[in-house]
Symmetry: C2
Subunit: 255 residues, 2 copies
């Protein structure tokens, strides 16, 4: 049952977002996409946030689509002057940026007189792109090669991700189990945890301090595709916490 | 009063965090650091998240410290086997990783018998590093060249950032003003917004859709160091919203 980490497809996320870099907006798209990918057995290997600047977007797209099996972008596909992702994807692939006739017809049909020049930009795509239709917006995202281009607004991105999920390549599901203990400090369990990690090289064992009601605790998390190994590692992690004189609690700490 | 964008120091953030890539943890460090930097007049130009893998950390550190005036890292400086940031910074700079005598003495004095081998890793740093003492933890972060290495736990990172703020280079403060309108759609104001952006090339004008009580609205945001220009751009953005038949509201939308 042990599956090498390399057998899962890999992915990166590129966030095109001045509003994240300025601190205006708290990103919530990374966690949503990360969880979706984990459920599909796809390993998220990198996230980047770059500003709304063509060279930066084009450079990052070309680096990340070459380095990983797939790339998900969020942001910059609306109708305003700072929405330049779509043109940049065309430039990254070296193809023309042109009207997608079917999307154009559909948007015109739905929007009628409100379908102006700015909105028509949302029906314009790199040649060869496949629209990502979705339940949240008449304006689609699109897939170009191994690059999935989505909106930055979370509920629209989530609807696009839902559409995409049906057709993404899958790997063995990546699973996670946790145990935690209040009053345990990382320094007290580090040596023991290292021994467990060495016993289960196919897993990622992580240790995450948290504070609750003014006191520190630690959550120990085992992650991988080998569920029996995850369960066995969590049994040992549970003993490790108990050996600190603390009653272990299964799962992640609440809140 | 117009200040070119290039006059502000630039920065990047590198998050070393399997827990972000797996979707386990919602990152909150980027927004905190981004806001701190904006207040100091430092332009955050890039964020990366990489896994706890030496080559990935070393490569990203060397790329980002060369590309920007300063780099902030979070995560991976605790006492456990997966805390490898400190060794990786030493490798990135090509210097030995060795005990910082003063930090070692201080941690021993505070922790007494609990000061074990795992905890001593937290007093071990790249040669030439300067500890970042802080109010949240006896274990410091450190500054190595233009790289500021901080904890991943938000409240400890925040305390380290507080220490750092006194000594970081500053630029002219980056300010932001917003106006929003319920019922305005981006497609309706895109052309007008582009005209305003062209009039104020020293500013970043952004347009951000939001949903509240089931209805869409748009926030228009002007950002830069030239406050009179920001105010003038917001006056025009306010008129643009009013021209849509909507009563504009100053500031960001609540919630």
């Amino acid at each position: 049952m042990t599956v090498s980490k390399a057998s899962n497809p890999t992915a990166a996320i590129l966030i095109i977002g001045n509003e994240i870099l300025s601190g205006r907006t708290q990103d919530v798209n990374v966690q949503f996409i990360a969880r979706s990918l984990a459920g599909l057995g796809i390993r998220l290997q990198e996230v980047r946030v770059v500003p709304d600047v063509p060279d930066r977007i084009i450079g990052a797209v070309n680096e990340l689509r070459a380095a990983y099996d797939m790339l998900f972008t969020t942001g910059g596909i609306g109708p305003t002057h700072d929405d330049i992702t779509s043109e940049c994807i065309a430039a990254a692939f070296g193809v023309p940026w042109e009207l997608d006739e079917e999307t154009d017809r559909e948007m015109k049909a739905v929007m009628g007189e409100r379908y102006n020049e700015a909105r028509q930009r949302m029906a314009t795509m790199p040649r060869g792109a496949v629209p990502i239709k979705n339940e949240a917006s008449i304006a689609p995202g699109f897939t170009m090669g191994n690059v999935h281009v989505m909106a930055g607004v979370p509920r629209i991105m989530q609807a696009m991700m839902k559409t995409l999920e049906a057709s993404l390549p899958r790997g063995e599901r990546i699973q996670m189990r946790a145990v935690h203990g209040m009053g345990v400090l990382e320094g007290g369990i580090a040596a023991g945890l290292s021994v467990i990690q060495d016993k289960f090289p196919q897993l990622d064992l992580g240790s995450y301090p948290f504070k609750r009601d003014g006191a520190w605790g630690v959550a120990l998390v085992a992650k991988g595709t080998d569920l029996p190994a995850i369960d066995a590692a969590i049994v040992e992690a549970t003993d490790l916490i108990r050996a600190q004189g603390v009653e272990p609690v299964q799962g992640e700490p609440a809140g």
